[in-house]
């Protein structure tokens, strides 16, 4: 087939394109990731019994704000990176600020705590399961986000994969906040961050393989 024939073939009977297709794919991916993680929390982990009380305290919303800022940043970046010729854009700022804020809180919290309480603050009672739980809760969202990306055209697959992994894991962390009893900022600054980092790195590693087109 020569190039003229190819062009004629591609143009013949061409269907109109839905201009909202990227928004739709990612909305669906977020819905699947969010509902998936929420179901696992409700059915397996269980919601923390004092959720109604704790939800009335500002510190609970600080806890929510951390994964939420990473989620917003990851979403802004990944929807841009799904298009050829787009940089990651302003989403980086949300991620950077979210991580910076939690680390300032972590260091401050540790600095003002009595020396013999610092280890307890960092480890809490659930440090062994936290990062693993977040990683496992990310799986539905991870699959859905990669499905969304595979229908698009990321030209920086490693970065797009990393942002996809972060989107899935920040969603999972939001759901995990309904279960997790830990309320010390240093705990979040280490274990939540680690839980979100693992899917992000897996996404970066898999991006080059799964997002080729």
């Amino acid at each position: 087939m020569n190039t003229d024939d190819l062009v004629s073939m591609l143009a013949r009977g061409v269907e109109p394109v839905d201009p909202k297709v990227i928004a739709k794919r990612f909305s669906l991916a977020i819905l699947i990731g969010g509902v998936g993680a929420l179901l696992v929390i409700l059915l397996r982990f269980g919601v923390r019994p004092d959720l109604a009380d704790v939800a009335a305290t500002p510190i609970f919303w600080v806890k929510i704000a951390f994964p939420l800022s990473l989620m917003v940043g990851a979403l802004l970046m990944v929807t841009r990176l799904a298009r050829p010729g787009m940089s990651a854009g302003g989403g980086k700022l949300w991620v950077t600020l979210g991580v910076a804020a939690i680390w300032v809180g972590t260091l401050y919290g540790l600095a003002v705590a009595p020396a013999d309480e610092r280890v307890a603050m960092v480890l809490g009672t659930t440090w062994k399961v936290c990062a693993v739980s977040i990683t496992l809760l990310s799986i539905p969202g991870f699959i859905a986000v990669f499905w969304a990306l595979r229908g698009l055209a990321p030209t920086q697959p490693k970065l797009a994969g990393a942002c996809g992994g972060l989107l899935a894991s920040s969603l999972a962390t939001l759901a995990y906040c309904l279960h997790c009893p830990e309320m010390a900022i240093p705990f979040w600054g280490i274990w939540y961050l680690l839980g979100m980092l693992v899917p992000t790195l897996v996404g970066a590693a898999m991006g080059t393989r799964w997002l080729r087109w």
């Binding site: 087939m1 020569n2 190039t3 003229d4 190819l6 062009v7 004629s8 073939m9 591609l10 143009a11 013949r12 009977g13 061409v14 269907e15 109109p16 394109v17 839905d18 201009p19 297709v21 990227i22 799904a82 298009r83 050829p84 010729g85 787009m86 698009l152 055209a153 030209t155 080729r212 087109w213």
Partner: protein
């Protein structure tokens, strides 16, 4: 050439190509065909300058890029410069090409200037060494038949549905997935 006139002509080309492309995205077949044809001549000129040592590969790579532009056309956002979008696709495919040939000289070759894309159009097509017709024949029926009837014979979706017994949405999906599968086959074979 004077730099301002040069920039002015690039800008005009961007505007006219974008108008054709946007109209094509709304389903205007004639405008979309004009867009692809004109883009093809620019890409050929661009690739000819890039692949001086592999002239036999130019037409194959051009076809691969045009197919990628088509398969990815839903990722274009109308407020984005069309040149940047097309250039990113061409660069991605060119990098893939260099990688698969593992040409060290290619990897050091910088491809950063989107303006080069529209520098010198080239109207003479060369012979493609890869036969897309043959690859199309390898697709499963539910993709091959919709592509044959709609994209090659020019039948409507409704006529194709009647002829093949597929639903109209299955015909559209078959065309879409078939062209993506075609791109994947090209990638696997290069």
């Amino acid at each position: 050439m004077d730099r301002t006139t040069h920039n002015e002509s690039l800008r005009r080309r961007e505007i006219s190509l974008q108008a054709l492309f946007l109209s094509g995205l709304k389903g205007n077949q004639a405008d979309y065909g004009s867009f692809l044809r004109e883009l093809g001549t620019h890409l050929r000129g661009f690739l000819r300058a890039r692949l001086q040592r592999q002239p036999d590969e130019i037409e194959d790579l051009l076809q691969e890029i045009l197919l990628a532009v088509h398969n990815g056309r839903h990722t274009y956002q109308s407020d984005q410069p069309l040149t940047a979008w097309v250039f990113a696709i061409a660069r991605y495919k060119l990098a893939d090409f260099y990688r698969s040939r593992s040409r060290h000289d290619g990897l050091t070759d910088s491809i950063d200037d989107a303006d080069e894309l529209f520098a010198e159009p080239c109207l003479e097509p060369a012979q493609a060494s890869r036969d897309l017709d043959k690859l199309l024949e390898e697709l499963p029926d539910k993709q091959r038949l919709p592509i044959r009837h709609v994209k090659l014979d020019g039948l409507s979706v409704a006529q194709t549905a009647q002829l093949t017994g597929l639903s109209e949405s299955a015909v559209k999906i078959g065309v879409h997935r078939g062209l993506k599968a075609l791109a994947a086959m090209i990638r696997g074979k290069s």
